[in-house]
């Protein structure tokens, strides 16, 4: 006779229990960007909504920022660090691929020896990891998962590239996902469009950089701005709507909208297309934080809650999108 396997037993539902963020101390105004590119404060504000961003100093590493943000999220969640049994870190700007930075972070936040790994899904990294965490909690492979987005995009910014120099910032944001009696995270709508993989990418591979050669510079992020903008305003509004539909709610039921903070113009356009009512609080953190890729959604969530624009229990639509191209959208109850 074959013995039967005992299956994992997950929580009935999952929810975000707490959130935390870290912004580097150095604030960089548009004037500083203008030293390297032919542009103007007015142009940068009107095309992106960005006024300032934070750039990390030498000690504000991806791991350091992630540990601070993660520690705050754990405290906010009201769980003990040793109760964290999964750590997921979404990043594209940690320059040491092995080992995964998640293991060091797990150790340093006091989580002991949990399952820990990095996630690379570009600017959709946080919403990807968030939904993995939900599936871990409801699937029974973990009970409390720390999800962090942490980036030092300033390291991957070509200061002379007019289409990106003003865009990127650094920082880390984190949430803890744990068990819930009631549904507090809707179904994810996610996917990738690898046929558009060259629209946002690293200028040269590490291999090509190592091999050197004529004109090969340190890798930076590059993008086809118009193509990205078109995709974001046209396709991502549809994905956001599908996430509302999947959660069984309408725009009128929504309290908060937290899209990836890529560009204020993308945020504005999505708000219009989705016909979000006046009462919905809109994340506009890009103005003073820039585009921090995988860190942008938890940072914006933390700020909306800290400033009282959103409150615990609110229904928020989160949508991440970026290099890959990748995207993931889901409706959550705010911690």
């Amino acid at each position: 006779m074959t013995a039967t396997i005992t299956p994992a037993l997950g929580a009935r539902h999952a929810r975000i229990l707490g959130v935390g963020g870290y912004r580097p101390t150095r604030v960089v105004p548009n004037e500083e960007i203008l030293k390297h590119i032919d542009s103007s404060d007015e142009w940068i504000r009107s095309r992106s909504g960005i006024v300032t961003r934070h750039w990390a100093g030498p000690d504000e590493t991806v791991a350091e920022m992630a540990v601070i943000a993660g520690g705050k999220a754990i405290a906010d969640a009201g769980v003990a660090p040793e109760d964290i049994d999964g750590v997921l870190v979404a990043t594209v700007s940690h320059f040491k691929q092995t080992p995964a930075v998640a293991t060091e972070i797990a150790h340093r936040v006091g989580a002991g020896r949990p399952a820990a790994f990095d996630v690379n899904a570009g600017c959709a990294g946080f919403t990807y990891a968030l939904n993995l965490a939900k599936d871990m909690v409801t699937g029974g492979s973990a009970r409390h998962v720390l999800v962090i987005g942490a980036e030092r995009l300033s390291d991957l910014t070509d200061l002379e590239d007019r289409s990106t120099a003003f865009l990127f910032g650094d920082g880390a944001g984190a949430v803890v996902v744990g068990p819930s009696d009631k549904p507090a995270m809707g179904p994810v709508v996610w996917g990738s469009e690898g046929d558009k993989s060259d629209v946002i990418s690293q200028t040269v591979s590490w291999e090509a950089y190592r091999n050197g050669g004529e004109g090969v510079r340190f890798p930076a992020l590059r993008q086809e701005g118009q193509a990205v903008f078109r995709w974001a305003v046209f396709e991502m509004a549809k994905v956001a709507q599908r996430a509302l539909d999947a959660a069984g709610i309408t725009a009128a039921d929504l309290d908060v909208f937290i899209p990836h903070q890529a560009n204020m113009r993308i945020v504005d356009s999505m708000v219009k297309t989705l016909k979000l009512p006046e009462h919905v609080a809109i994340a506009r953190d890009v103005e003073t934080t820039g585009n921090t890729s995988a860190a942008s959604i938890p940072l914006a969530m933390e700020r909306l809650l800290a400033t009282g624009q959103a409150k615990s229990g609110d229904l928020a639509l989160c949508i991440g999108f970026g290099a890959g191209l990748t995207y993931a959208a889901t409706v959550v109850t705010l911690p």
């Binding site: 095309r47 078109r230 113009r265 356009s269």
Partner: protein
Amino acid sequence: MAAINDKDAILEGLAEIVNEIAGIPAEEVELDKSFTDDLDVDSLSMVEVVVAAEERFEVKIPDDDVKGLRTVGDAADYILNAQLSTQS
């Protein structure tokens, strides 16, 4: 099958789109007006106009062709030609 619009109908549709996106009164949107110089439609708003026009008129306007659409008339001609060529 998509309906073919005449140029007046296309102009009317474009005027509504520009009004929606840039807030310019529809009656100010005329064939000889430049999107950027006369109608306050910058390069990113232009992408939004194009995306809305693609939906409304059931045509494709690739990124590379957008730069060539300086005036409302350029856009109307482009849409008309695109509609005619998909019908034949």
